[in-house]
């Protein structure tokens, strides 16, 4: 609808883009030109770990051990950014947000591995004070030594160009993600009104500024475009309990699965999670498009999935 960029917008974007380049030229170029970290070399990106158990903190510890230990991802002195879903004023049992235990344990592990700073970010949909408090994430994270950052307050965004973007070519992304040495995506799997399901790739909408653009210009296409640019070092999908309807906010029917998926490739993780809802990966628009763009594979049958019960 509003595809044109007004002069004011143009100037705004240009200035913020220029300042980003001036400030963050080194990490940005790394992200852009795909200087992958050694993590990718060690682990098959389509290898997934599916852990099951009712002690959520233990699931995280075991999960990292399966992936080669936290040290593979976090080096001493690293700046770590976690992106859980903390966007809604919903209690943990209502399955609106990532479970606080998962987030706090990840923070703790990162801190123990020598991370300099751990930022937990989200561009909340509800008021951030309210949603951070009610989701229980703020308190859990504070005790574990993390720093909660609300992208809804203050200016945290910088403009980026998305080289493989078909519709979304430029957008404002949180600086934290661009500057991070290690970026861990921690979504919760749940129903979603317009995108059918919200999974790893959909969670990236919580680090961009203008979400309305996605909805106006083609939701699934834009989600796939942003996923071609943002490649988390690790995806931890919270399937401890999943929301089956009235998503993404709820309250709706909640099903307890007690599962957590660890994986490097976001498309692969998403594909496995869709099966929990009784759907096929290709039923979800953005997973289908992401496969055609070559971000990852969706043939769940051929994945190497390591299951572990705790």
């Amino acid at each position: 609808m509003n595809n044109k960029c007004s002069r004011r917008d143009f100037l705004k974007y240009a200035i913020s883009g220029a300042s980003l380049l001036a400030l963050n030229s080194i990490p940005l170029s790394e992200k852009l030109f795909g200087q992958t970290k050694d993590v990718f070399a060690e682990i098959n990106p389509h290898e997934l770990y599916e852990l099951e158990g009712s002690d959520y903190k233990k699931l995280i510890r075991e999960g990292f051990d399966c992936c080669g230990g936290i040290k593979t991802f976090v080096k001493p002195g690293d700046y770590v950014v976690l992106k859980p879903n903390a966007a809604w004023s919903r209690k943990p049992e209502e399955a609106g947000n990532t479970h606080p235990d998962l987030v706090s344990e990840t923070v703790k592990l990162c801190r123990d591995a020598g991370a300099k700073k751990v930022d937990i970010i989200d561009h909340t949909c509800d008021n951030s004070k309210s949603s951070f408090k009610i989701s229980g994430i703020e308190e859990a994270v504070k005790n574990a030594g993390g720093n909660m950052v609300s992208l809804s307050e203050g200016d945290h965004f910088a403009e980026v160009t998305i080289p493989n973007g078909k519709i979304l070519k430029k957008t404002l992304v949180a600086k934290q993600v661009l500057n991070a040495d290690c970026f861990i995506n921690m979504p919760i799997a749940k129903d979603h009104g317009s995108a059918t399901l919200t999974l790893c790739m959909k969670n990236h909408m919580g680090i961009v500024k203008d979400r309305g653009y996605f909805h106006v210009n083609g939701l699934h296409e834009c989600i796939a475009d942003i996923s071609s640019f943002i490649k988390p070092d690790l995806n931890i999908m919270d399937c401890t309990r999943i929301l089956l309807d009235h998503g993404p906010k709820g309250p709706g029917r909640v099903k307890t699965l007690n599962k957590v998926i660890f994986g490097i490739n976001q498309v692969a993780v998403d594909s496995l999670a869709t099966t929990y809802f009784g759907l096929k990966p290709k039923d979800i628009g953005y997973i289908r498009i992401a496969e055609t763009m070559g971000i990852g594979k969706t043939d769940v049958e051929n994945f190497k999935i390591t299951q572990k019960k705790i």
Binding site: M1, N2, S89, C125, D126, N127, K129, S130, I134, H192, G193, S194, A195, R211, G212, Y213, H215, V216, N217, G218, L219, H220, L244, D245, H246, P248, K249, G250, P251, G252, R253
Partner: protein, 388 residues
């Protein structure tokens, strides 16, 4: 000299104490209610509004007036201290105009807006915190009474306290009763003062006199009294606006007519009314916004949302949007397929509370497709279906 410095320091300390007490309302909204109800002029005006709220809390000041006369005005009142700290050109001159002003404001309070409390010094001081919250100079108009008080002080020392302040007049009146002194006011002046109050009331109520101007977009805070009663009972202290979690409450100007000037309004364009916040219900010193528990507040209607399908990008452009359905805390937006099979939003007015979350996040531009109107405001909404 030393004594003077010491007394100035003491005054600054006292002003700081007042500021801290009022500032606490940001964390504990009920402080706003207690701190302002200390003033007996709110007690008097409560009688004009048929509401006998926290009477006991203003008793200490009444007692102080009996024992020590104007001690509160000279030594304790924050507005008084501000005037003391600012230099002035003239010496104080005592008159008894303040009694007439008190009478005028009293009569205005009976027939229209609660002016007696609007010009109370503590309430005037409390408005500063609205500006602190918004950090906006435009809102200086909101503290106009305080600015006028300070300017008058430059002209003549404590001009406001001595000749104008309604609270001061009330204390003077108590002193007169104590001394069994008859108040020597001329009958005509008394009548004139009463008439002036009536005129003020009439000007304020132009909207009611010349037929109601319906503004269906004027949203009041959750649990506000019906409009007529609300504008009478609200003292424009700005506490609800200061404590509002999301910042959706802003002072209105002429949206509600003259009567509604500086009353709080909900602005979904800025933010939504948070589902788990009832700070304004706790803060309101006059109960113009009803005192409510969080659960009661969650079910009270502020208004009802309505979708313009020609502007909605799902209905008219087949976009996958449904942001309003995403953000709605009360499951009031239902999905319905349009002719092309795109899921589109539809409002269930029974569940909608009018919090404005949908309007706030609607991506349709330049005009939002979903808007909240003050339809059914104050009614209790149906409960959401349990477990979806």
């Amino acid at each position: 000299m030393l004594k003077k410095i010491l007394s100035t320091l003491f005054k600054i300390a006292l002003l700081l104490l007042w500021t801290i007490v009022f500032y606490l309302q940001f964390e504990r909204p009920y402080i706003a209610r207690f701190a302002q109800n200390v003033s007996p002029s709110l007690l008097i005006s409560s009688i004009t509004q048929n509401v006998f709220w926290i009477i006991w809390i203003s008793l200490p000041l009444v007692l102080l007036a009996f024992l020590k006369g104007r001690f509160f005005c000279w030594k304790i009142c924050p507005v008084g201290i501000i005037q003391d700290l600012i230099p002035s050109l003239g010496k104080p001159r005592f008159t008894n105009v303040n009694l007439l002003i008190f009478l005028a404001l009293f009569s205005a309070s009976i027939f229209s807006v609660n002016l007696l409390a609007v010009f109370d010094p503590l309430v005037s001081y409390n408005r500063i915190f609205t500006i602190i919250k918004f950090k906006s100079t435009v809102l200086l108009i909101f503290v106009l009474p305080l600015i006028v008080i300070i300017l008058l002080n430059v002209y003549r020392k404590r001009f406001w306290c001595v000749s104008l302040c309604p609270l001061g007049a009330l204390i003077d009146w108590i002193i007169n009763i104590k001394n069994k002194k008859k108040i020597d006011t001329d009958k005509r002046k008394t009548l004139l003062a009463f008439g002036a109050g009536l005129t003020a009331a009439a000007i304020y109520r132009t909207k009611s006199f010349f037929g109601r101007v319906v503004n269906d977009r004027l949203l009041r805070p959750p649990g506000a009294l019906p409009e007529e009663k609300f504008v009478k009972q609200c003292i424009r202290c700005g506490s609800c606006i200061s404590v509002c979690l999301t910042g959706t409450l802003t002072p209105s100007f002429t949206e509600g007519g003259m009567e509604g000037i500086f009353t709080p309004k909900l602005t979904p364009q800025i933010a939504e009314c948070d589902e788990f916040c009832n700070k304004c219900n706790e803060a309101c010193p006059t109960f113009a916004i009803k005192k409510m528990t969080l659960e009661e507040k969650r079910n009270i209607k502020i208004g009802t949302a309505d979708i313009d399908r020609r502007k909605c990008i799902a209905w008219s452009k087949n976009s996958l949007c449904l942001i309003c359905q995403e953000v709605c805390p009360y499951l009031a937006i239902e999905k319905q397929k349009n002719i092309s099979g795109t899921p589109c939003p539809r409002v269930n007015p029974k569940l909608c509370r009018g919090c404005g979350h949908c309007e706030n996040s609607c991506p349709a531009s330049p005009i939002r497709a979903i808007k909240v109107y003050n339809v059914d405001a104050g009614q209790v909404a149906a409960n959401q279906p349990a477990g979806g």
